[in-house]
């Protein structure tokens, strides 16, 4: 047992950012991950991912819409959340030195929402025109979302495709910054030894792509096999991407562990106790169940071509990335600011910062995704066809 030394204020308030802030980088990671896969088809010419790109865009937009929810729920003054737009800490002055990474969130969010909304409209315009022609109660909605277009013409398709390509391309760095800033934000907290490394921004992004690809595999499989349109080549292609990104992710994490273990600074006994005493279960999920096992399964070519194995690996990878967020956010705060003590976290079940609130945020996402995929057909002939370029 190591000697514990903590500050008095940490007795009453051991962990400041709880489960809500643990799921927030998970959600933004999924946003970035799914968007980057969709941009593979629309901007980077990998037309073999066309069929899944539609779902990817819808998933990304859904998660983007629910991303601010955990943040606002976590605030002690949520009714003042708008202040991040009217008085952001983006300009260093003598009274307000430096720049706050958290302040860029508002602008990134709005910019990204605008970009995705425009991309979605131009992506599905042609399909919505067809939907409007088929009549129905919501013809006015389809017509409005198609910006009033009545016929699908070649010029319209060509122009829309160019717009989508440009937006999908600009969106890649925007997605990277949208999720990367969270990693940088954690890295900027010098008082938390687990967070204050350059590694945070990088690996948050890499694991975001892991989770995005994994979610896409699962959702595409569910939608496509229900509609009896499953294209197994897409599953295999995504599985390959997942394998490589998992490899990079685990390599980065492994390197970080290696350095900390070798350096063994004064906080080492507490880091060690955190990993092997306090957070053993979630550590196992992050590294073994959700890390090494799916990696090994997917690196074996025969297993990679087996759909059940790919699905299992995707589920495990999703769990693993969630555990990583938990271990980083909660675990980082369990090590006291003294760097020589351990705190504790009792996750509330009820209340605005509890487990049920977090599940409710994901449920809101399911609702929004349902509505969006009902309006914008995930397998739209144009959205997952011509918009993604020529070729199968």
């Amino acid at each position: 047992m190591v000697e514990q030394f903590i500050y008095p204020n940490e007795m009453a308030q051991p962990v400041i950012w709880g489960v809500l802030i643990a799921i927030y980088p998970y959600i933004t990671g999924l946003v970035a991950g799914s968007f980057i896969v969709s941009s593979l088809a629309y901007a980077l010419g990998k037309t073999n991912y066309k069929k899944v790109a539609g779902i990817a865009v819808l998933l990304s937009f859904t998660l983007l819409l629910i991303a601010p929810l955990p943040l606002i729920a976590d605030l002690k003054q949520p009714d003042r959340a708008w202040e991040i737009f009217t008085r952001p800490h983006l300009v260093p002055t003598s009274a307000y030195p430096n720049i706050s990474p958290m302040a860029v969130f508002g602008y990134l969010l709005i910019g990204y929402i605008i970009l995705m909304a425009i991309e979605i409209i131009f992506l599905w315009r042609a399909d919505l025109v067809e939907k409007a022609k088929n009549g129905g109660r919501f013809r006015w909605l389809y017509r409005a979302l198609a910006l009033g277009a009545k016929e699908v013409s070649d010029t319209m398709l060509r122009r829309d495709k160019k717009i989508v390509a440009v937006l999908a391309l600009i969106g890649i760095p925007l997605a990277a910054i949208f999720h990367g800033y969270v990693g940088f934000l954690f890295g900027s907290v010098k008082a938390r030894i687990l967070w204050a490394t350059p590694f945070m921004a990088v690996d948050f992004l890499v694991s975001a792509i892991v989770s995005g690809i994994a979610l896409l595999i699962v959702i595409y499989y569910a939608f496509a096999s229900y509609a009896k349109k499953l294209d197994k080549n897409i599953i295999y292609g995504l599985a390959g991407l997942l394998a490589w990104t998992l490899l990079i992710d685990l390599a980065l994490k492994g390197t970080d562990e290696l350095y900390r273990t070798y350096h063994r600074t004064a906080s080492w006994p507490y880091l060690h106790a955190l990993k092997f005493d306090v957070m053993v279960a979630t550590g196992l999920i992050e590294f073994i169940i959700g890390g090494a096992i799916p990696l090994v399964l997917l690196l074996i070519p025969q297993l990679r071509r087996s759909t059940p194995v790919v699905l299992l690996s995707s589920f495990l990878a999703l769990l693993g990335v969630l555990a990583y967020r938990w271990n980083m956010v909660i675990g980082g705060q369990i090590i006291s600011r003294t760097e020589q003590g351990l705190l504790w976290y009792a996750m509330p079940i009820f209340g605005k910062e509890g487990l049920i609130a977090s599940l409710g945020i994901f449920a809101a996402g399911v609702l929004i995704f349902t509505v969006l995929s009902w309006i914008f057909p995930w397998d739209g002939k144009y959205a997952t066809g011509e918009m993604g370029g020529e070729g199968k």
Binding site: N9, Q13, Q77, F85, S100, G111, I114, M156, K190
Partner: protein, 225 residues
Amino acid sequence: MSSDDNQINRREALASLCGVGISLVIATPLFERISEEGREAGSKRWAMVIDVSKCYGCYACLAACAAENNVPIGVFRTWIERYVKAEGGVVFVPKMCNHCEEPSCVEVCPVNATFKAPNGEVLVDDNICIGCGACIQNCPYGARFFNPIKGVADKCTLCNHRIYDGKLPACVEACPTGARVFGDVKDPNSELSKLIKDNSVSKWKPWTGNKPMVFYIGLPEEANR
């Protein structure tokens, strides 16, 4: 072609709408100018000297601070750490917010709610703080906390409501042994400056780079964490 004309006009209209929308969003900070009035560096630099050998752990400072500033039970704007030596004897080390010269807490506030006042004290504007907790995370000294009653970030204010009235902070006034000394480090004639000149002073965790402004006389190594 008339339909093409319609489509071009629609596109231009959409583009200009987006442009207007984006400009409005970017311009939102202009809606609320953050006043720099009264924020230019002042002529003083408030600091504290704490003489560890003089503190005998009466905790009067803690009680006075809580009474003066309505600090709720369970959280502390200042506290005293008690170290029992193996060979016998006790050492009491008072600790508080260091009102750092480069406060890491101020840097991360997303809405400019916490700031460096002109004479160096680090304060929180209760009407602006959104309660995100970033400043509480980033204080390496554990000096900040969420005020459970007000729902905003809270910390030692150097009794800002007293020191500009010619009074001392409550903890300094309550201390019976004179272990806490408050003053202007820029004034060479202040008792504080003389204490710093005549004694070997050290800072609490200087490696954070925050440049804390509480000077300790006799801070034991075990307490320097």
